[in-house]
């Protein structure tokens, strides 16, 4: 394999892995809040985090530029204080993948956590266990399958992210060209052989992950 192909493969895995870590750290607690708490604006939060699932990734990317671009309402401060912008770095690819893959974790995770019998949670409370302990020892273990499925799906989606990544991270060879972007460049420049190899590779990896997601979500106690 070409070294640029290897680079793209490695970068894609690295980006998808980092995005998945963010999804677990940020997405899982949000899914828990949406499933088990009532607060004003709850459905609005759910909808706004789910939007990237249905919006064209370019639109999601556009919003991310508004927020994180050098003149964006967050990016502006990053640039001012740190003299750094996330734009056109591999971190931007992580951010794009995270936002685009997050809905899968929110949807699958929320459904899995909501399906845990609330009597079991009440039982844990009457047995003296705090909400935190109950979440760790009862709610999360019982929702484990669905949560794992959500994580695997998010990873697969992050691996295939294209549109928002292109908007935010660009398509810089040897820097931000993840596999989907590299495939686009190779195909556009007529290098169908290399492109085909990466297409097959990406398809195989995605198939494997969907298989894993199905396995996790179906196996019940």
């Amino acid at each position: 394999m070409d070294s640029s192909v290897l680079f793209s493969l490695r970068l894609s895995l690295q980006v998808a892995f980092a995005a998945t870590v963010l999804i677990i750290v940020i997405g899982l607690p949000i899914a828990y809040l949406l499933a088990r708490k009532n607060f004003p604006g709850k459905e609005l939060l759910d909808i706004s985090l789910t939007l990237p699932l249905v919006l064209p990734p370019t639109v999601t990317g556009y919003y991310l530029i508004i927020a994180f671009g050098r003149n964006g309402f967050i990016g502006k401060y990053l640039y001012e204080w740190l003299d750094w912008s996330i734009m056109f770095t591999w971190y931007a690819a992580v951010l794009a993948s995270f936002v685009v893959a997050l809905p899968l974790m929110i949807k699958t995770g929320r459904a899995a956590l909501e399906s845990v019998d609330s009597n079991l949670i009440n039982a844990a409370y009457t047995l003296g266990h705090s909400e935190w302990e109950t979440a760790l020892k009862v709610t999360l273990p019982l929702a484990k399958r669905g949560l794992l499925a959500g994580i695997v799906l998010s990873f697969a989606r992050a691996l295939g992210e294209f549109g928002a990544t292109l908007m935010l991270a660009g398509n810089i060879p040897g820097k931000t060209d993840t596999m989907p972007l590299a495939i686009y460049s190779l195909s556009a420049s007529g290098d169908q052989e290399q492109a085909a190899g990466m297409v097959v590779l990406l398809t195989l990896v995605a198939t494997l992950f969907l298989y894993l997601a199905n396995r996790y979500s179906r196996r019940i106690f």
Partner: protein
């Protein structure tokens, strides 16, 4: 020892307004489904908040609307056996029971566990999961778990409703023994007249969110306050179904 409850709770299309007190005895909350019995247990346990009133167990105030006291379920010393038992499917019998050991000092846990497993005959299947044991066995595990941390009161929400008749009768005898062994006040919710008659020291008859009669089982049985109570206690529940608007 005892429990006193005086609560008010307004739900959509239903209003609960009850007041009763029990001592160290087995009290039955009796009435149709939908009369507010299970809701009362949830209020006692702190799983729902009353609109107003006072709930007191063994001198400890769990809830006082006027004084803004509202203990969390974790702070209330209650053993709660749910209608569906609510055993944790991902834990073994042993883990289920020990999950109830919160607040029991570490050095007393194994002794307490041994005592309970002997009383409830669960030692033989302590390493099985709830899905691998019978209905009667699950019942005993649920009782053992609820008693693990020495609750001040035991709340039972129709715990025998899923059992077939012979097993239900066996479990009644078992519950009587348990009362003797552990000396804990018990509130049993049921709509089964036979169960009430064979178990209750005192009975609190519910209808449509209020108490229509309460007192010693024999008193209430011999002097039902009206036709409703009389027929309820005769076990003619079906003939009364039309009165029960909510299910």
């Amino acid at each position: 020892m005892g429990l006193s409850v005086c609560v008010n709770k307004q739900l959509k299309g239903f209003s609960l307004n009850v007041s009763w007190a029990i001592g160290d005895e087995l009290a039955v909350l009796f009435g149709f489904s939908g009369s507010g019995k299970s809701l009362t247990l949830q209020l006692i346990a702190g799983l729902m908040k009353p609109d107003s009133g006072v709930i007191k167990a063994n001198g400890t105030i769990y809830f006082d609307g006027e004084r803004h006291v509202n203990a969390t379920p974790q702070q209330r010393s209650l053993g709660y056996v749910f209608q569906d038992l609510a055993l944790f499917p991902h834990m073994t019998v042993r883990q289920n029971i020990l999950f109830g050991a919160k607040g029991v000092p570490e050095n007393e846990r194994s002794e307490r566990y041994r005592e309970l497993t002997e009383t409830f005959y669960v030692a033989a299947f302590e390493n099985k999961r709830p899905s691998e044991i019978s209905g009667g066995q699950k019942q005993r595990v649920a009782f053992a778990r609820a008693l693990m941390r020495r609750p001040d009161v035991l709340l039972l929400d129709e715990p025998f409703s899923a059992l077939d008749t012979p097993l239900r009768i066996e479990m009644r005898a078992f519950l009587k023994d348990l009362r003797k062994t552990f000396q804990v006040p018990v509130v049993l919710v049921t709509h089964d007249a036979g169960e009430a008659a064979s178990l209750a020291d005192s009975i609190i008859v519910y209808s449509e969110g209020s108490v229509i009669q309460s007192g010693l089982m024999t008193e209430v049985f011999n002097n039902p306050v009206d036709e409703r109570v009389k027929r309820l206690l005769a076990g003619q529940e079906d003939t009364l179904r039309p009165f029960c608007k909510r299910h």
